[in-house]
């Protein structure tokens, strides 16, 4: 009904493999590309190069242990992944999370979203041939990472969330440092515009490229900035709030363009929104416990539990089927990148090879999240 026919290789077709070892695929993604001159006729994504069987692994891990594995899925929004798992367990066991823990979680998640978007911005520049943005993006990202290190003990795969709250209290310097870095970033984000957003070459490269219609975006199950760039309202923080997002003032960014430029603008605007959320919370961290009292061994009641959160790339769903034991019977991670990647062939059809790079960088793929 809606599916295009499978592409059949003809005699004399120019088939180029892009990836798994390619500078622009951001990981080990293999794209088989049928070309006509420079124009893309068809793309076939081949994934699974770093499939680590996280779902199968989680089936043998306890509810305290399985959280850490999810940091390795979308490693750029590790906090948010962990948060999703912790929330699912809390929902199933009906644990009341202290207010302080909720605020800390949201703060950390938004900082994480900022770092993720910064890295994405740098990589977008890098993919389109401008090397300098990469280093500019890492300037603030590095400070935020160090700040994470202060509180969580690690920079990328933090494992800071536990069912019932967070693992440790905030570092005493946390508030001061966050304020510093946000103030600095508010000044420096204008450099992002000067270097890329306003640049005529960059705009030419992304405007009108990689069009994804609203219908297609819904049909492919896209989420996050990829879908919001096509005009779909799908911000989980707004639609199905968790951890106190309902009390915060922020906008859901929606662009109608559907092209790379719209997706780019969504992410840039989201950085501003994240900063405003951090501004609202940083001075209002309530006193209290950072962790609810939980039993040493967690046992989920029998049933099925689904919890979704908004990671930096879209909707992450954790679907746990429990038989009442200490480990999940079946666990499924609905990863945002998986669905977004499946829309890539539609977006890239009829574009040039150079556009493919732009499209991939504005979808902001993280391959470990696709493979899981």
């Amino acid at each position: 009904m809606l599916i295009e026919e499978d592409y059949i290789t003809e005699e004399g077709d120019f088939v180029v493999n892009i990836g798994p070892q390619h500078p622009a695929t951001h990981g080990v993604l293999h794209l088989k590309v049928w070309l006509d001159g420079e124009t893309i006729k068809h793309i076939e994504p081949h994934i699974g190069y770093i499939h680590r069987s996280i779902e199968k692994m989680s089936e043998s891990l306890s509810y305290r242990q399985f959280i850490y594995v999810t940091s390795r899925m979308d490693y750029l929004s590790a906090h948010i992944n962990n948060q999703a798992c912790a929330l699912t367990v809390e929902k199933a066991m009906q644990i009341e999370v202290p207010q302080r823990a909720k605020v800390i979680r949201v703060l950390m998640a938004e900082l994480n979203r900022l770092t993720s978007h910064m890295l994405w911005w740098g990589c977008t520049g890098l993919d389109l041939g401008a090397v300098s943005p990469f280093f500019f993006a890492f300037r603030e990202r590095e400070i935020i990472n160090e700040l994470m290190e202060d509180t969580c003990g690690a920079r990328l795969t933090m494992n800071y969330m536990v069912p019932g709250g967070v693992m440790a209290d905030l570092h005493p310097d946390f508030q001061r440092k966050v304020k510093e870095v946000i103030a600095q970033f508010k000044v420096n984000i204008h450099e992002y515009d000067q270097l890329l957003s306003d640049n005529v070459i960059f705009q030419e490269r992304v405007k009108g490229v990689g069009y994804l219609s609203k219908e297609d975006a819904i049909s492919f199950g896209c989420s996050g900035p990829t879908a919001r760039g096509s005009g779909i309202s799908c911000d989980i923080r707004k639609l199905y709030p968790y951890d106190g997002y309902e009390n915060l003032k922020f906008d859901e960014i929606i662009e109608q363009g559907g092209d790379c430029w719209a997706r780019y603008k969504v992410r840039i605007a989201e950085m501003h929104q994240s900063m405003s959320i951090i501004d609202q919370l940083i001075d209002n961290i309530p006193e209290g416990d950072f962790q609810a009292k939980t039993k040493a061994v967690l046992k989920l009641p029998k049933g099925e539990f689904y919890q979704r959160v908004e990671t930096a790339r879209g909707e992450l769903g954790v679907f746990i089927v429990s038989e009442g034991g200490t480990t999940p019977y079946r666990i499924k991670y609905r990863s945002p990148n998986f669905s977004n990647l499946s829309a890539l062939p539609t977006m890239a059809k009829g574009c040039k090879i150079g556009d493919l790079v732009a499209i991939m960088s504005t979808i902001d793929l993280v391959i470990p999240d696709v493979d899981r």
């Binding site: 809606l2 309202s233 499946s342």
Partner: protein
């Protein structure tokens, strides 16, 4: 549409439907034989309009496979979980919904790869994640691999 209205409406589409309301979403059990037409109805009926298949997976229960479809509607914001029980453990087959939701193409390939459910009418049913010559389907409970490490 509220949960009661949804139940009412679903019973119209499929008289044999049974419900389970223990979870967060309304769960409806469909039967495999007329599954495809009912899914089409869910997608196309103007008052239901389940256009967003946001999660699809399968569970290996001891006596059956259960395919789980998480559906929601972007205009109405109601959600539904459709479940189909496949009792044939040796050779589970289900109709493909890849023609209804484009995203199901990849999701079904993943389920086929890891759980071994075949989808009738899928345009390109190959293994997605593992190599083409992999033996077995790892997410099945009876899957055994000599190289597997027990933790």
């Amino acid at each position: 549409m509220s949960r009661e209205e949804l139940k009412q409406r679903l019973s119209e589409i499929c008289p044999s439907v049974t419900f389970d309301e223990t979870g967060e979403f309304l769960m409806a059990f469909f039967t495999p034989d007329v599954f495809l037409t009912q899914m089409k109805e869910l997608r196309c009926a103007t008052d239901l309009n389940f256009d967003y298949l946001f999660c699809m997976t399968a569970i290996d229960w001891k006596d059956n496979f259960t395919a789980v479809y998480h559906l929601s509607s972007t205009p109405f914001r109601h959600a539904l979980v459709v479940k189909v029980k496949l009792t044939d453990k040796e050779n589970p087959v289900l109709d493909s919904v890849a023609g209804i939701w484009k995203g199901a193409n990849f999701l079904e390939r993943e389920v086929y790869d890891l759980m071994g459910i075949r989808f009738n009418g899928h345009p390109d049913l190959r293994r997605l994640i593992l190599e083409d010559d992999w033996i077995g389907h790892p997410l099945r409970k009876d899957y055994a691999d000599e190289n597997m490490i027990e933790l």
